[in-house]
């Protein structure tokens, strides 16, 4: 439920909050679902990216997703949780 709520908040924040705040919310949501920062970055670029410009939000989202996935793999192999 928390994961879904954070994901929805990340998508809605694209319309209301500055891009730095959007990135922060997406990264927090990414701790539960690593693909969310990538998805939010793409969504932001679909709305705001002008032509002939590097899609920085998508690239940053992809980078965050890769890092968060690596963190999760590390946590997975480090925690024994019955």
């Amino acid at each position: 439920m928390t994961s879904f709520g954070l994901m929805v908040a990340a998508f809605l924040s694209v319309f209301v909050l500055p891009s730095v705040a959007v990135m922060l919310i997406a990264i927090v949501a990414g701790f539960f679902s690593p693909l969310v920062p990538f998805a939010v970055g793409m969504f932001s670029d679909l709305l705001y990216l002008p032509p002939q410009t590097l899609p920085m939000m998508t690239l940053l989202g992809a980078l965050a997703s890769v890092v968060l996935y690596a963190v999760q793999r590390f946590v997975k192999t480090s925690i024994i949780d019955y």
Partner: protein, 273 residues
């Protein structure tokens, strides 16, 4: 009794979490399909979300400003009333002059457009406008804020909406002038409405020098607020603040600024794809 091991290895990485992420990516890909195959429908669908966001921000600002001291508000109200009266008189005079100019020049061709989204919500310093091809907006038209301050250029347009890239967009370069001597310089967008530019150290500028862009005449876009000069460098870096507050734009005018403006755009560049 045999007990199952590792039923839940990690509280963070669950199948639910993975599926939510995949669902998010699938959702965005569907949105991308709509964006590419039906661009008009795309912004029409998301326009209510922008409006809701604007209303929410305005309401939050209203609530927060309500906590300010009543005395200060009353004082500001009196000052604004006086200013309003003066502006009304000035506006009447200007309207008369504009009407006379319109008769002589064949009418005003500018298009008024509402702003659906603006910085800082929009990344890349762009504006989403609630007017498009239907209202007469075409690619390359110049966008002006209140008072005739040039702020950007139309870079994407569909039937009912348009996207304007601001001159302050990071990586965007625009030719302009600075100071009373009209010294030519290249304005580099620095994001958040601000610019940077470099000039030789031998150039001396007056304090708060105005920066101009081409258009219907020389139009001021900002003021030089700081000059960084490294003794080891032959150049000085100008930090330029915008003359208008881009974060509170609610409407803009769009018009074709003619050959001078197009010539300045030819030398302008953006971050390559």
């Amino acid at each position: 009794m045999k007990r199952g091991f590792l039923s839940k290895r990690n509280a963070l990485l669950s199948s639910k979490g993975v599926s939510a992420g995949v669902a998010a990516v699938v959702f965005v890909l569907l949105v991308a399909l709509v964006r590419f195959f039906a661009p008009n429908l795309f912004l029409t669908v998301f326009a209510p979300a922008f409006s809701t966001g604007n209303t929410l921000v305005a309401n939050v600002h209203g609530v927060l400003s309500g906590f300010e001291e009543a005395a200060a508000l009353a004082q500001e109200n009196a000052r604004l009333s006086e200013q309003n009266t003066a502006l009304m008189i000035e506006n009447r005079t200007l309207s008369d002059t504009a009407a006379k100019c319109a008769v002589l020049g064949g009418g005003d061709s500018s298009i008024v457009a509402g702003v659906l989204a603006r910085p800082p919500e929009t990344a890349y310093d762009t504006l989403i406008l609630g007017a498009g091809l239907t209202q007469g907006i075409v690619l390359g038209m110049e966008v002006f804020a209140e008072g005739g301050v040039p702020v950007g250029v139309i870079t994407r347009v569909d039937a009912t909406h348009a996207l304007a890239t601001l001159f302050s967009s990071p990586g965007k370069n625009t030719e302009g002038w600075v100071g009373t001597n009209h010294i030519p310089l290249t304005l580099k967008g620095a994001g958040g409405g601000s610019f940077m530019a470099t000039l030789p150290r031998s150039v001396v500028l007056e304090p708060q020098a105005l920066v101009y862009l081409p258009g219907p005449g020389a139009l001021s876009v900002g003021t030089v607020v700081r000059i960084d000069a490294d003794p080891a460098s032959p150049e000085q870096v100008l930090r330029i603040a915008p003359i208008t507050n881009l974060f509170s734009l609610t409407w803009v005018t769009v018009q074709d600024s003619g050959a001078a403006f197009q010539a300045a755009l030819v030398t302008s560049t953006s971050t390559p794809l």
